[in-house]
């Protein structure tokens, strides 16, 4: 890591997308994908903070077996609102709407996405949906669980269900617009020479995610619309007293919500595929397999939804099929983990903050993914369904995986987005703090689940207290791990050192333009004639191979 030459001193470019126009209207009426990414950053950070406050209240409440903080009814509202805020308004938009919006045009050599005005509309739709949900939170809250099972949500709940489901319905169109935009952009707006198999894997990951946005989101939209109609007009689609079928709701709900979890993880996997080659200074291993695995996860992910319903009385044969398919969908994820590991092997590894997050991702996603296989086991699921084992499983993937991917990506591309460097030492401390806090929070929850502690309960038997207290202690450390980046990122915008175009250095088109980029991204339309992740063959970046150049990752497509 030590160099004998002094580090070059960079200055910020004079004109870039952040200072090209001023005033609130230039931000609220922007069609620049880079500014829209900032708008989304503000929105998702707000909902993350809100969801985090609910999580803190849950963990404090669970310090004692009989519950410390709130009434049982309020506890139901806490875990529901935590889930709704985090899933629909933070995790699903986060990487695609912030990093995807900013980077995809840059990575493919385009000036903007295919439909810039629809991009801005998608943010407004997100905000309007969010306002409906905030209204619900403020006027009685929501106590149905983020899964809105009927007939509790459609008939019996005394909480503000209708505005919440309307808000999530509206927010769904934000996802649909984003998915449409990315899919068309990647198809039609690649620069000359940017063939499909020269695309960064981040772009492949977002293409796969867009497939899910496009095909899955409309189903949750119509489902929640039916819940709202049932609740307000007393219809009977999902109400058994009126001849309706609550299990139909669950099928419709999970048909989207399972692919939704792949919406949450595929972009993070795309981030990891960018970070690992950069900080191992080695081309990624198995580019084609990683690209194909993203598409496979998106496709197979549509066929496993009823593994959430093993205990609803579905037929043994249906359960068998869904269990088998759930095992199958793990295979492409495993392919990625193997390929990232193979990329690290014999690489020249440095432990910059993005790499710390990426390495953490691999380990934590592995645990989360493997425990998903435990849950896909029909016999085992009977005992661990609806316990803390499930909670630990999905938090290992969504927090240990998706959020660490998001933070790793924010750190990796922060210099490009802002033109400034964040403080590296403090950032590494924050990453380690987050990792330790995370494992202390959710590791004990696997044990609690196996010991039989149910989820969504406001109290528990006294023998579970030690593990619950450990979990809450971990949550306080985790919170510190999240607060630190919020502070130093904000600090760096004003006081950070200028980053220059390519601080790492990394290959990829986005690193060839200034930091921050000009509004039109590139001064001249790039013409691509090199292979992706060519870390051994870029003397301009100080990365040279002693021997012959490596064969391209894929043939001349």
């Amino acid at each position: 890591m030590a160099t004998t030459t002094t580090a070059p001193v960079h200055t910020m470019p004079r004109d870039h997308y952040l200072n090209s126009t001023y005033g609130i209207r230039s931000w609220l009426l922007t069609t620049d994908h880079k500014r829209i990414a900032w708008l989304y950053l503000a929105g998702v950070t707000f909902f993350f903070t809100l969801g985090g406050i609910f999580a803190a209240m849950i963990r404090v409440h669970l310090l004692t077996p009989s519950g410390l903080l709130v009434s049982p009814e309020t506890y139901n509202k806490l875990f529901t609102m935590h889930g709704v805020a985090m899933i629909f308004f933070f995790l699903i938009p986060s990487i695609p709407a912030v990093l995807g919006n900013f980077l995809i045009p840059l990575m493919i050599g385009a000036k903007d996405v295919a439909f810039p005005k629809l991009n801005l509309l998608s943010w407004y739709v997100y905000i309007i949906g969010g306002c409906f949900v905030l209204y619900s939170f403020a006027t009685g809250g929501l106590d149905t669980g983020w899964t809105f099972y009927t007939p509790l949500s459609s008939v019996y709940s005394n909480s503000a269900v209708a505005p919440a489901v309307i808000g999530i319905f509206i927010n769904g169109f934000s996802s649909i617009l984003t998915g449409m935009n990315f899919a068309v952009t990647i198809h039609t707006m690649r620069a000359p020479g940017m063939t499909w198999f020269r695309l960064p894997l981040f772009v492949w990951a977002h293409y796969a995610t867009s497939i899910i946005f496009i095909l899955g989101t409309p189903v949750i939209a119509i489902t929640l619309l039916l819940v709202a109609l049932e609740r307000t007009l007393h219809l009977g689609f999902f109400n058994p007293a009126l001849g309706g079928d609550p299990i139909l709701f669950q099928h419709l709900f999970w048909f989207y919500s399972h692919p939704a979890v792949y919406i949450m993880i595929l972009p993070a996997m795309g981030v990891i595929s960018e970070i690992i080659p950069t900080f191992a200074r080695k081309p990624i291993f198995g580019y084609t397999f990683i690209a194909a695995s993203s598409i496979s996860i998106a496709v197979i992910g549509f066929f496993v939804w009823a593994h959430h319903m093993f205990l609803t009385g579905e037929s043994t044969y249906a359960a068998l099929a869904f269990s088998l398919l759930s095992f199958l969908v793990a295979i492409p994820s495993a392919v990625k983990v193997f390929n990232w590991t193979a990329t690290l092997y014999k690489g020249s590894i440095s432990y910059d903050t993005p790499m710390l997050y990426a390495l953490g991702f691999i380990g934590l996603f592995l645990i989360g993914g493997l425990t998903g296989l435990f849950l896909a086991c029909l016999g085992l699921d009977i005992d661990i369904h609806d316990t803390y084992f499930v909670i630990a499983h999905f938090h290992y993937i969504m927090v240990g995986g998706a959020i660490m991917g998001y933070l790793g990506g924010l750190h990796f591309w922060w210099p490009k987005i802002t033109g400034k460097l964040y403080p590296e030492f403090l950032a590494r401390i924050a990453a380690v703090t987050l990792f330790v806090g995370f494992n202390l929070t959710f590791g004990p929850q696997f044990l609690l689940g196996l010991m039989g502690m149910p989820r969504r309960y406001h109290n528990y038997p006294p023998e579970f207290q030690v593990l619950n207290v450990l979990s809450t202690a971990g949550a306080s450390i985790l919170a510190l791990g999240y607060l630190l980046p919020m502070v130093y990122f904000t600090w760096s915008v004003r006081y950070g050192k200028a980053a220059g175009p390519n601080p790492w250095p990394a290959t990829g088109l986005e690193w060839t333009t200034a930091s921050p980029p000009p509004t039109e991204n590139f001064d001249v339309t790039p013409v691509v004639d090199w292979e992706p992740y060519d870390y051994k063959n870029r003397p301009d970046l100080g990365l040279t191979a002693p021997a012959a150049p490596l064969a391209p990752a894929h043939g001349d497509d």
Partner: protein
């Protein structure tokens, strides 16, 4: 201010712009298939569970008006296709003619639907308002018939909403065509609205037999 037919700043060529717009419309239609799909699934499950009541409820729908509407909508797809052809053939004067014909047919469809909805209102077949199927039905039959009509209004209502949007798009196209904006070289908006209009027509082609023709042969 962008004028229809000009190159947007972020595109490199008009061909790229056209390809993007058309691909975008196809993808949007894919989302619409999934959107309506949830309703079709709910319909299928409920019809399989309550076949007798669904057949009885279906028979209270006006077959003449439903069939008329089907013919009207298919004719409107023809006139829409003629509008697209006129643009591609460069016959600029014909474009507004066919667009207006499509508009008229679409409006007729919506008018007939209004008549049908009113008839349902009079017969107390609108769920949510006091719903009463045949006098003397059991509570269960009443509830199951209300399910049928919830689906009827939900599906045809959602379809009608899409028709209204379509009418709005046609009015916009009419305005642009009267300004002479569409030529043989540039007619992407007409083509894409045509795609949308044909999709809405296809949805109706499924709705008509599923809602109006249950057990009519018996």
């Amino acid at each position: 201010m962008h004028r229809t037919g000009e190159l947007y700043g972020h595109f490199q060529t008009l061909e790229q712009q056209k390809d993007s717009a058309t691909l975008g419309m196809w993808i949007f239609l894919a989302t619409e298939i999934l959107f309506f799909g949830g309703l079709f699934l709910t319909y299928s499950i409920n019809r399989q569970t309550y076949p007798g009541v669904f057949a009885d409820a279906s028979k209270t729908l006006d077959l003449t008006l439903g069939t008329l509407n089907t013919a009207v909508l298919i004719a409107s797809s023809l006139t829409m296709a003629m509008a697209v052809w006129s643009a591609e053939a460069g016959k600029k004067k014909l474009i507004p003619v066919y667009l207006i014909l499509t508009l008229i047919l679409g409006t007729v469809f919506l008018g007939v639907k209004a008549v049908e909805y009113h008839a349902k209102y009079v017969e107390h077949h609108i769920p949510g308002l006091p719903f009463q199927f045949e006098p003397g039905s059991t509570a269960a039959t009443n509830a199951h018939a209300e399910l049928f009509f919830s689906l009827y209004f939900g599906m045809t209502g959602l379809h009608a909403l899409h028709m209204v949007v379509g009418v709005g798009l046609l009015l916009w196209l009419l305005r642009q065509s009267l300004k002479g904006r569409f030529t043989a070289e540039y007619n992407t908006p007409i083509e894409n609205v045509g795609l949308y209009w044909h999709f809405v027509d296809i949805v109706w082609i499924y709705l008509y037999p599923l809602l109006y023709l249950i057990d009519r042969h018996k």
